[in-house]
Amino acid sequence: MRDIAFGQYYPAKSFVHNMDPRVKILLSIAYIVAVFLVAPFHYLGFAACLLFVIIATLFSKVPFLRILKSIKAVLFFVILSAVLQIFFNTNGNLLWSWGIIKITDEGLFNAGFIVARITLIVMGASLLTFTTTPVELADGIESLMYPLKFIKFPVHDFALVMSIALRFIPTLIEETDRIIKAQKARGADFESGNIFRRAKALIPVLIPLLISSLRRADELADAMDARCYSGSDKRTRYKKMKITYRDVLGFLVVAGLITGVVFLNKFYILITVL
């Protein structure tokens, strides 16, 4: 369970790591928009997005292999959508058929299109999580949600809940690991039997886990109380987020990317003619 590459922070000192988390989040969203803007059959747009990811990765010092590996987490999803497109899209010219299965050229194109879209999006998103710690992410999201305060949305509490949840994920994984081992030592069997038996076998793990989570929550609340925590607006920050030249540069590059994609969509025909 510890080996999930997607969504893990990769510690390094780099141009991208040092960018403002707020800007990184916004730019990631802009990048995803750029990927969605690429129109079908205009594959140069995808090439532009891929180029952007590669350059951003170079500037982040994250090994490119790591970024590729993050696709593994959604591999099943990618394959499933590709297969559905290939076998069940009946529009376009028929290339091959067998019973109800018909493979058409449009199906193949659509499959390629979807695979490219998902892969590019996952690569971009994982670059964000590789270069931004969960705490920075939570701070960034809180700050970006600030306008919601005007409709009385408890932004700060929401952000606190989010960062506590993020903080406790590794702890929970560790705890689960330990309880599973303790019950295995008492002869619990999680691997054999049908699905109902297996679900039932999880009870001796889930109950201790639930109890220790409740205990943890209690302790954390007490500890916060003891340090006079109150979720007021007057709290200052330990780390101030600041926009620097890096962020301006990043903004310009992504703006360039979006313009490029729109341009490629519009002038694709022009380019092929030339």
């Binding site: 080996d3 330990r178 619990a188 069997d189 109890i211």
Partner: protein, 296 residues
Amino acid sequence: MRIVTENLSYVYSEKSKELAVQALNNISLTIEEGEFFGIIGQTGSGKSTFVQHLNGLIKVGKDKGSIVIGDFNLTDKKCDFKSLRAKVGMVFQYPEYQLFAETVKDDVAFGIKNFFPALSEKETEEMVKTAITLVGLDYEIVKDKSPFDLSGGQKRRVAIAGVIVTRPEILVLDEPVAGLDPQGKREFTELLKNLHKTTVKTIVIVSHDMNFVSENCTRVAVFSHGELYAEGSPKEIFSDFTRLKELGLDLPVTAYLTEKLSETGIKVESDITTDGFSDAFAAAYIENKEKRRREE
């Protein structure tokens, strides 16, 4: 059952270059039946990783050495881990966190239901009763209580009853006294000694409490950075003052006193248990006094 490990190594996250941790490196260790075996070492030295190998919770990797316990060859793919786990009981740090059932009785019976499902209700209850009594609780009082309504020390006892209920021959404990008060620690030590005398043949215990180790263990292994640093009787291990300090380990009070006294010229030869030390010290003291009187 005898425990023999040879050249045992283990690496966490072996596939990943950055995350790989060599937790064990070529550990060869034999623990005889009947021993009260202590394992010490600073944090992260691989003690927990080692003991988790002993009942197959961590499997021996390919070309990572071998473990044989009695008739069980843990390196063998066909090894019957379920039977092994019935023979080798394992108590983790904070064992009370593994309680889950509605009543103490059911929780303690969990192991029997898993290992010996063929036993009748009556036989099961008999075994549960024996185990709960062994850990020093009153069966009639606690059997229908929720384990979560007990005190911390009682919870820990129930958890241990849940492990010894299947009558393991070897009991492995990983820092079992963490978080207990001095009184709780003393009671727990008595409980272990009693178990060792009556039901469990071999005890393997990971401990940070050097006084406990010098007092109770027949033999001690010192782990350091995943390697077996030293092995021997408590006396042998704790006589090497400076080396242990280098490893960041404490000394039992008796070893410390022996060392201090020898600096002032009083040689106290003992097995460094409290009793042994007191006797030897009394003898040395009287001898010293007599010597002085003669000199006068």
